[in-house]
């Protein structure tokens, strides 16, 4: 399972990188999500995988059973998931904002902060109103 999980995480990483290399913002967003899945799997894999032995102390004992899953990576992943949610929420809204301000989600049209280019006119109201769904 370690091997399987490592490969799965690797595939997720590869897919994430591929998506982040796209030009469309939406795809990049997908890439970011995949990236957080990949990291979570990586963290999960950083301790031995033990099926069906949650790190809980039974009601009648002071210590957990002799074999139990390592709770540390679990706590770390939980933290990472929640942080990841915050970042994703912000990223999603930021990208929506980009689209509504620029009228495009093509990153090749977002080079003005790097290279001098002429003022591109802001997307007109009509364009924004059009609901593409």
């Amino acid at each position: 399972m370690v091997l399987l999980l490592a490969i799965t995480a690797g595939v997720l990483f590869a897919a994430a990188i591929y998506m982040i290399l796209r030009r469309s913002l939406v795809k990049i967003l997908v890439g970011l999500l995949l990236l957080s899945y990949a990291v979570n799997l990586l963290l999960f894999n950083s301790a031995d995988l033990i099926p069906a032995r949650p790190p809980l102390v039974a009601a009648d004992s002071l210590l957990p059973p002799t074999i139990y899953a390592d709770p540390v990576p679990q706590a770390l992943i939980l933290t990472a998931i929640v942080i990841g949610f915050g970042l994703t929420a912000f990223a999603v809204v930021l990208m929506r904002q980009v689209y509504s301000t620029l009228g495009t989600d093509d990153l090749n049209e977002m080079r003005c902060t790097d290279i001098p280019c002429q003022e591109v006119e802001i997307a007109s109201e009509e364009e924004l109103m059009e609901d593409p769904l």
Partner: protein
């Protein structure tokens, strides 16, 4: 967005149930599966369902205070739970427990206050984001 009557009716009944369940999750979280995050997320889901199924305005009316204040109070109680032991000369976030356990809840201490803070922040954050997006 279209609203189905069925969904809104469900939301009316589901929401309070989910809130109660979330508090249950929060309180027992220290000993069983659950905790501030899980509880907060369940509560937030319930409120979200309400907001989407009925209306964001209704959700806002339902809230006793503004969502950013919920977040602020949540953060403040988490900070407070850490600051209490500081007043007693212990390091930040040192757990302080009441000697006698309360009925139902069990042992009560600053970690519970901390978890409540987490719970509030999660609810506040989700509701805040939802209202921001839905009220446009």
């Amino acid at each position: 967005m279209q609203r189905s009557i069925l969904l809104s009716a469900a939301a009316h009944y589901l929401m309070p149930l989910m809130l109660v369940f979330s508090i249950f999750l929060l309180i027992r979280g220290h000993n069983e599966v659950g905790g501030g995050f899980a509880g907060g997320l369940v509560a937030a889901s319930g409120l979200m369902l309400y907001g989407i199924a009925i209306s964001p305005a209704a959700l806002r009316k339902l809230l006793p205070i503004q969502p950013h204040l919920i977040v602020g109070i949540g953060l403040l109680s988490a900070l407070l739970s850490g600051a209490i032991p500081m007043l007693m000369g212990k390091p930040f976030l040192t757990g302080q427990w009441l000697k006698t356990p309360l009925p139902v809840i069990g042992k009560v201490g600053t970690p519970l206050l901390f978890d409540t803070g987490v719970y509030l922040v999660v609810i506040g954050v989700v509701v805040w984001i939802l209202l921001t997006l839905a009220e446009e």
